[in-house]
Amino acid sequence: MRGPDVQWYVVLSAILFSTGAIGVMLRRSPLIILLSVEIMLNSANLLLIAFSRLHGREDGQIFAISVMAVAASEVVVGLGLIVALGRRHVDLDVDKLRTLRG
């Protein structure tokens, strides 16, 4: 295997995951929270593919593709909720969304 060993990928993935987690904790706009969740999912994907390469088996890549499909579904539902909020002229701030009653 040319280039860096798998532990470098692990470290990079950990940094990306904690960056996304900090974004989820800090930001108040639900749009940016969704974007930060995407960063976290992608760092998990990077780790899956790195370990798939380490073991020389493709099962990790299969798992990564499934994660991608789940992430796309999550974005569809999340953006649908955000658009529904925007149409009702609700303030897009997760600290102010206290009830789920329509």
Binding site: L31, L54, Q61, I62
Partner: protein, 185 residues
């Protein structure tokens, strides 16, 4: 020489992904955040290529960088100007300090565990054949060993599509007066 080139590509892609991830978290305008997430996804696709995941890299660019991000940008443009303050402006609050501490704790735990438990194991990857990560190999695996995961994924996508339609179709503006109340007044 080839090894050196791979290292250079890796370092550039890794720093690009880190910088764009920080930009996603820091930008006050969600539009800029979404644009820098596209950069993050593209540099991760480069890393996938270095790990011989050709099909996953192509899927990353097509599905994420294409479809998902276009949907994000459409929704952000539809909602209009939703700029909020950057989390770093206005001095450190307890929320910023707590979130950064929690993120640093996750990072430190992962690195300590990997350093203690998996040092030599991680630097000896198994040899792979030429067909590793190609669409043909992944497709065969998907339709033999992982058929259940494949079918469940299709159901998840169907449910998400139905959910998106339901959420989009039934959301009416509530502050508009309905015809009956208008007729009564």
């Amino acid at each position: 020489m080839a090894n050196f080139l791979v290292w250079v590509v890796w370092v550039v892609a890794a720093f690009a992904s880190l910088a764009s991830a920080l930009a996603v978290v820091s930008f006050s305008n969600p539009f800029y955040s979404a644009l820098s997430l596209i950069g993050n996804l593209a540099s991760l696709a480069v890393l996938f290529l270095l790990l011989s995941g050709e099909f996953v890299a192509a899927g990353q660019v097509l599905v994420y960088g294409g479809a998902v991000m276009v949907m994000f940008l459409f929704v952000i443009a539809y909602l209009g100007d939703k700029t909020e303050e950057s989390p770093w402006s206005g001095g450190p609050s307890w929320q910023v300090v707590g979130a950064v501490l929690a993120g640093g704790a996750i990072l430190a735990e992962v690195i300590v565990v990997v350093g203690l438990k998996a040092g030599n194991f991680l630097s000896s990857p198994q040899p792979i054949g030429r067909s590793f990560g190609t669409p043909a190999a992944l497709g065969r695996l998907f339709l033999t060993d992982h058929l259940l995961a494949f079918e469940v994924t299709s159901i998840v996508l169907l449910v998400a599509a139905v959910g998106g339609v339901v959420l989009g179709a039934h959301a009416r503006p509530v502050d508009e007066p309905s015809p009956e109340s208008h007729a009564r007044t």
